[in-house]
Point group: C2
Chain length 604, copies 2
């Protein structure tokens, strides 16, 4: 049995390696434009024997992509491929530039390394892996396991918690300054609540096992639970904040603060109000938070979904392609325009002409003067939707001026945001400078985002009753990462325990005396502790105070106690004073107030 | 298709009803001692035709249980049952009392309504239900669903969150006073981490669906994650608190504060220390928390696992039955001794004599004098384990005296606690008086519990290295329930928003002026808001202040502004004062300080 299991474990490992390799290949292929290469040369040889080029009798850039990706191939074995290859080689660079983009015909698709083919292959191999694993579980449970937290998650140790609590406290105090109330929702929802809200990303939702009863999933964000809460309770008006963990089965990049379990800090204003008034306040809230966290310079990019739609319309994109084109635009923060353009044309079916027109617009950014210019734009001014969006942004910028934050706001036509549910203004806060930690620069990028979603609550209402909403979400995990890196680099110190007084003893058999004094201090509200050992060493006790930033120690000794005295030691200055035993509490309280302890600068 | 689905939905509903009915029957049968009744009279008639009594030729209390549960039966149809029935009727009460307890023979078990038979039946019917549901999912997803939170969970609205945050804040400040550091762990763990830690209760663990990758479960408590954390990070010393939600697929009783998703507030001290020093501090922490929450009188019951083991040993229970007997004792807080005794004998295989001896001990409770008496007890003093437990309790009580809490501690031999992992002292805090809410009394019962678990961390260490731990867990959901009931009864008021100043306007077209003033207040750190509408009505604005407990309003009017003035209104006294526009911030800050606002008494 044990041997059988070992064989099985080995098979599982091999199969796991294969799946990982395939996934890595797919991932790396997603990063380059040249996604077309030949999977099966024999098949390609057969195909090309009947044609001059991949698309029949017209050469295209596709031929060149495939040609460029053909490396170290024994062309003697594939005569028709060789003929085509020699032909491709004869093209001059200027000729190649003039060739049109074309999509591969279906017959060729099957023998290309497209991501679709890769996905199919991965799916098959994952199924095999799961079957092997199931066999293992049926046979016998594996005896040992690695002690770890689940993939993409982590524990927070006391230092990290001190950082986390201090960051959240700052954020909460801004939320409260703006009158937000706090709500909380369960960590899981009925699966149906989440269905159809996240588009392609739905595959990242964690489902619970069906153990009889309801079918449940872990929440993916805090916005959909808010919409469910509003619809369920028939609430039309709410300014709320919600700070909680959400769950996404994404590929984690934990060093950069990307986890599968992570905090979101959301502030939303629900209700039917005058245009852009709550929208502008959300931006004000973001600036106050980023200023109080003090993690570097930032800008607030804004755009409007109506302007995006109007822009697509003006550029000749059919209405049914708006959403998918929009999600391609969203990649502009990570990829250059050329790549985005290629994806638009090859995958989203946008014509090259339309794509180039879009390209003209998305490179624009500015402020009110750009809005005014675009309101005069020949094409955009004809689109009702574009004009609506531009007027919205103009009003928002006015209000931002009132709120003293206009210099931080950048109207940017390339901002798109991935989620389906936005209907109006969209925003994103981006750090503009890499953060220096321990001499190294770390790029943080987007740190908050949000927008208006007027139709989401209606999706939960039987009568489709709408409650317009606008909100922002602060990506605190990135803030935590930056501060943790500073902590590791020694640029920040935190104090996880808040003890003010350590009750120590210099001689043996003082345990009960120490306990009695601790009790007195606790009852007086003083944060105090003592060694849990009967006869601790003096040096260890003082060391404990130094390591934990405890500012004061009460030191008990027989001779002092006989004289009705105890010693108070200031750990930093090392000064010791004798005070009357019966004035101890009073004396300590005075000293604690005087010290006005705020050692870590993070948390009081 | 739609019609087919409707039929399916109807079938699912019927099957669901059946399952619920069976489960309810089972549950109600668990509450009565008389668990034996006849399921199939025809079969019983056949069986009893060959014997005098159920157990052959000796009458027993089992016969009487079955006899008593036989109601409205047409005995003419079952001649042998009738013969047996008439015979049973002839016994006198005193004769019945003297009959022995006996278990039913296997042949009879099959025709009795035992819970085992019920479980089997329920299992079969649940399987049918799931099959029907699966059919539905394969066919087509149901089009509508009820908007709700998952079973056993709830949203927290702003009032409830204000209560929750205030309760947690009080608990955290006690934890911090004792020097506890904060940690957090992921909401899910590798399933293996939880396996084998909770005994019978493991069936209540929520599993995540296998979506490829690791097999995960939601955390069931905060103790096992702590042990995993200590072992994984090789930490030997930690005083930590952890406040987080845990998950149990239990039958919820939400009105009494029992949920499937609920908060635990844990305080634990890990490390090798002198006996009972950290254990006593845990009790001190509990008293400080319960005193600060001020929810009524309480006692802290304590007992010791070694004493329980020693007691079982002294009473003649074999060692392998210690744990199961212990879990029966644990039911003494809900059931009378007679029931517990029956379960011990019938289900756990304890002899009646041993059970009666246990019964003598578990009715005892007291303080140091009881410990001294038991140390002299003929049977207990011979058990090394019992003496160890008694000496531990004696030392604990001494330390409790030092900590000024001895009058709140009750040494109670009936306290057992269900969890397998305890190895030393165990505690439970119980409210001693029902709480009066809106004239009605509500019984709360156990509100905190814990104990020592010295072997749990070792279960995670490859070399089985132990880290002794002791801790307590506060059942805050019950506290929340009590306070929410008080809120509902009007005996408590909370203020979910902390706004100090509302910026209102009496005339039209003051939106931008209000926004400008709000901005000034925010930048000065004042909690302020304004209506998001252009032209709100004065009455609505003042009403908003009253409803939300906002103490101050700035009222803008054209005539005042022309004179360089604004009005400040005290919402409670309705007094209005004109102050210079440029002194507004200063004036408001003074008034806020003067009011020293603490309207709700719960949260600052």
């Amino acid at each position: 049995m044990a041997e059988h299991n070992e064989i099985l474990l080995k098979k599982i490992q091999e199969q796991g390696d294969l799946v990982r390799k395939l996934k890595a290949e797919k991932e790396s292929s997603e990063k380059v434009i040249n996604e077309y290469s030949i999977q099966d040369l024999g098949e390609f040889d057969k195909y090309i024997s009947q044609y001059s080029y991949i698309n029949g009798y017209t050469p295209s850039k596709l031929d060149f992509e495939v040609y460029n990706n053909l490396k170290n191939v024994d062309l003697m074995r594939y005569p028709y491929v060789k003929r085509w290859w020699c032909h491709m080689r004869s093209f001059s660079n200027s000729e190649i530039t003039q060739l049109p983009f074309m999509k591969p015909p279906d017959a060729v698709k099957l023998i290309l390394n497209t991501n679709q083919n890769r996905d199919q292959k991965i799916k098959e191999e994952v199924a095999k892996l799961l079957a092997l694993k199931a066999q293992l579980t049926n046979d016998a449970p594996p005896q040992k396991f690695v002690l770890k937290t689940p993939k993409g998650t982590r524990d927070y140790n006391p230092q990290q918690m001190a950082i986390r609590n201090s960051v959240l406290q700052k954020i909460i105090s801004v939320f409260k300054k703006h009158g937000a109330e706090c709500i909380d929702t369960p960590v899981f929802e009925l699966k149906e609540v989440l269905t159809g809200k996240y588009g392609e990303d739905s595959k990242l939702i964690y489902d619970l096992k069906d153990q009889g009863g309801e079918i449940l999933s872990l929440r993916y964000d805090l916005t959909v639970p808010l919409a469910r809460y509003l619809a369920m309770n028939k609430i039309n008006n709410l300014k709320r904040y919600h700070i909680a963990k959400v769950y996404r089965r994404d590929n984690p990049a934990m060093t950069r603060g990307r986890y599968r379990e992570f905090y979101q800090c959301d502030f939303d204003i629900a209700g039917q109000f005058d245009p852009m008034v709550p929208d502008a306040e959300c931006l004000k809230v973001v600036t106050e938070i980023l200023d109080s966290l003090d993690i570097g310079k930032y800008i607030l990019k804004v755009n409007h979904r109506c302007l995006l739609d109007g822009m697509f319309e003006a550029c000749g994109v059919p209405a049914e392609q708006f959403r998918s084109t929009c999600s391609t635009i969203d990649k502009l923060d990570k990829s250059p325009w050329q790549e985005v353009r290629t994806e638009m044309i090859n995958e989203k079916g946008v014509t090259p002409e339309a794509a180039d027109r879009i390209g003209e617009y998305v490179r624009l950014n500015g402020s009110t003067e750009l809005v005014d210019k675009l309101l005069q734009d020949e094409k955009l001014s004809k689109s009702k939707s574009a004009v609506e969006g531009l007027q919205g942004i103009k009003l928002l910028l006015e209000y931002c001026e009132l709120y003293g934050i206009k210099d931080k706001v950048l109207f940017d036509l390339s901002l798109a945001r991935g989620l389906d549910y936005y209907t109006g203004i969209i925003y994103e806060a981006v750090l503009t400078e890499p953060i220096k930690i321990g001499g190294e620069e770390q790029s943080v990028g987007s740190i908050a985002g949000g927008g208006r979603y007027d139709n989401l609550v209606g999706m939960f209402d039987t009568k489709n009753k709408q409650v317009p909403c606008v909100g922002i979400s602060v990506g605190v995990e990135r803030v935590f990462s930056v501060l943790e890196a500073r902590l590791a680099a020694g640029e920040l110190s935190v104090r996880p325990s808040e003890i003010d007084v350590y009750v120590a003893s210099a001689q043996k058999d003082f345990l009960t005396t120490r306990m009695r004094i601790c009790n007195e201090l606790w009852d007086a509200g003083i944060k105090a502790e003592q060694p849990y050992k009967k006869n601790p060493k003096m040096l260890n006790q003082l060391q404990h105070c130094e390591e934990n930033g405890i500012p004061l120690a009460v030191i008990l000794g027989e001779s002092e106690l006989k004289r009705g005295l105890v010693k108070i030691r200031n750990i930093v200055t090392r000064q010791e004073d004798e005070v009357p035993r019966d004035k101890l509490v009073e004396e300590l309280k005075n000293r604690i107030n005087m010290l006005n302890i705020n050692v870590n600068g993070l948390e009081k």
